[in-house]
Subunit: 343 residues, 2 copies
DNA sequence: CTGAAAGCGCTTACAG
DNA sequence: CTGAAAGCGCTTACAG
């Protein structure tokens, strides 16, 4: 009973007699042998049996973000079809961002999900020289990219408000850079944003407004480092307390927009009669909100599934065409209307 | 520049001069060396740097189930504090339930999350002889168990309906056994359920109803193999189409209850005037529903965090006390009222 | 169908 | 501060 024979008993039943195989399993049971060690087998076979997902923030935030959950659902569809595990790697345990977990993670490839330019965890992942794909951001030459037309999509929702007659805007943005800043972001800060998605969406708004003769410098952009309803609420309250009060609030995510609607209500105003609110993402909560939220739909689950499939193809060294950007669509619902004449 | 020195450059900077270390990194860069291989390092150090979560179903379902997402959020809080990754393992790619992924998964321990008695994936995990904890089900001697008083909690919500005056009940259950059965489950099937949680909750309802003189054999239990709003809707429609029509529907999960409420409405009836509906879990959607759902609150996030912490303690060979069951609470909202006299 | 040999890529005492 | 040696637990041709 050489090691090779034991190995064959577990991995290649056809290489030995059924009796011998059973006898080996019996002996294993008696000796308390737990079967081939996963790590040693992986080292020898040169595959980990899992793909890693790098997430910007604390993982616990990802599970609280409907868009991220839908994305992960899509990735999991691809990995489970392939019999692979899905290893979730945390971005930021506190302020540390220790790349050690990324260096030591036992995976066959990485999905980089919406991270900032120059993120040390992304760099640690790239140093591993494993197959990788990037979703949303950052753009990295040579890596497959899965995302949407952020700029054009943002422009379309701003144009919708312009068409309704709005001229006084406020913007609620999620983080422009990973420095935990919250407050009014001037144009210098906007342009210096380390998050490509933030930059692009703001530019999209800007181009729509400027095309209508609105001075972008006069549009207050409230940036909050989180993309939650609480953040949206706080940001919108700040915007609505300033003069001249905007007639509409553009939000970079639905979570922010849902919070902004709460803020409007808490100030005794009504959506959309007094203030129109728009979001971005079209998470399921957007359609269920009161009023239902006007937003930009993007296909979160498909995005994840595509990222997973492309990564798997890279791992298997199949050659896949460079992925195209996924389609988005303006979804007009009840949270937008022409500006009221109350002011 | 022996292998040991290179290893030290990466792992123990204090063991060599800064210059030599830089020189090693330079050479590594030039040669395209990606740094220590994660798997080989793991084999040598005997740790994987991740914990595995075993989920009954397709992983993509987990991400669609608010209770599961909250649970994973809790687990991730524990793992990211410890700098570990979270490896999600799929239960069922189709009907296969291939334990190969469980056997080969590179983890330091397992969280078994709500699986059936005798599940082959659970057995494969246990054969690995790694530290493990079980959440909700199945009960396995010798393993730490994290869960709630399912029977007592279910009894309390049924007693609430009894106290309101209801005597004609219908029950909507999720899977009793992993055989994909959907339809009315008789008492034999109920008792034979391979899911401990299903058994316990049904027993809890039963004891409350029988204490009030209601014959359990007369209570239709519609079992659906999924726990989704669509399933709840279909099940409730079936129950409401039978005579004598129940005045209230007990649902084993909030997802099922949310669907049951849709069914009531789609039949031109009103919740709670015509039909009272109760759920179980108190997911965020329950409070936001119209009307808000009466249900049993259980602490999903805490459950996950506790499971994670106990598993980590086992991995580190710290001795933790056997965990107690987590508290639940009946939350009475607008979906329950005394039975109407319309029938 | 079975077993001896090489090697996957690393880390860890240990001797110098 | 540096390097030679042993070994983590397995799998895979290969020879018999």
């Amino acid at each position: 009973m050489s090691p090779a024979t034991v190995s064959n008993a577990y991995n290649r039943p056809d290489q030995l007699s059924a009796e011998l195989r059973e006898q080996i399993f019996d002996t294993a049971r008696r000796l308390g042998y737990a079967g081939p060690d996963a790590m040693a087998r992986g080292l020898r076979r040169r595959r980990a049996g899992a793909i890693g997902v790098l997430y910007e923030d604390r993982l616990s935030y990802a599970f609280a973000d409907p868009a991220a959950v839908l994305f992960l659902q899509g990735v999991s569809m691809a990995t489970e079809d392939a019999g692979l595990g899905l290893l979730l790697l945390s971005g930021a345990p506190g302020a540390e961002r220790d790349p050690e977990a990324v260096r030591g993670s036992v995976v066959d490839g990485f999905v980089v999900y919406s991270m900032s330019d120059g993120d040390p965890l992304v760099e640690a992942a790239l140093e591993r020289r494993l197959p990788a794909v990037v979703v949303d951001q950052p753009r990295i030459a040579g890596l497959p990219f899965i995302g949407i037309e952020d700029r054009e999509s943002a422009r379309s929702v701003a144009e919708h408000l312009i068409a309704l007659g709005h001229r006084r805007f406020g913007v609620v943005s999620f983080a422009g850079s990973p420095d935990l800043f919250s407050g009014i972001a001037d144009t210098a800060r906007q342009e210096a944003a380390a998050y490509e998605v933030t930059r692009s969406r703001l530019r999209g708004y800007r181009s729509a407004l400027e095309a209508a003769g609105v001075r972008w410098e006069d549009v207050p952009v409230y940036e909050h480092h989180e993309s939650t309803t609480e953040a949206g609420r706080a940001a919108a309250e700040a915007l609505l307390s300033r003069g001249p009060r905007p007639t509409t609030i553009l939000c970079l995510s639905d979570q922010l927009a849902l919070g902004a609607m709460e803020a409007v209500r808490s100030m005794g105003l009504s959506v959309p009669k007094d203030i129109s609110v728009v979001g971005f993402d079209d998470v399921p909560e957007a359609a269920r909100a009161t009023p239902p939220l006007t937003t930009v739909r993007q296909p979160h689950v498909e995005k994840g599934a595509l990222a997973g499939r492309i990564l798997l193809a890279r791992i298997r060294e199949e050659d896949l065409p460079e992925p195209k950007l996924l389609p988005t669509r303006l979804v007009v619902r009840g949270s937008t209307a022409p500006p009221g004449d109350r002011f």
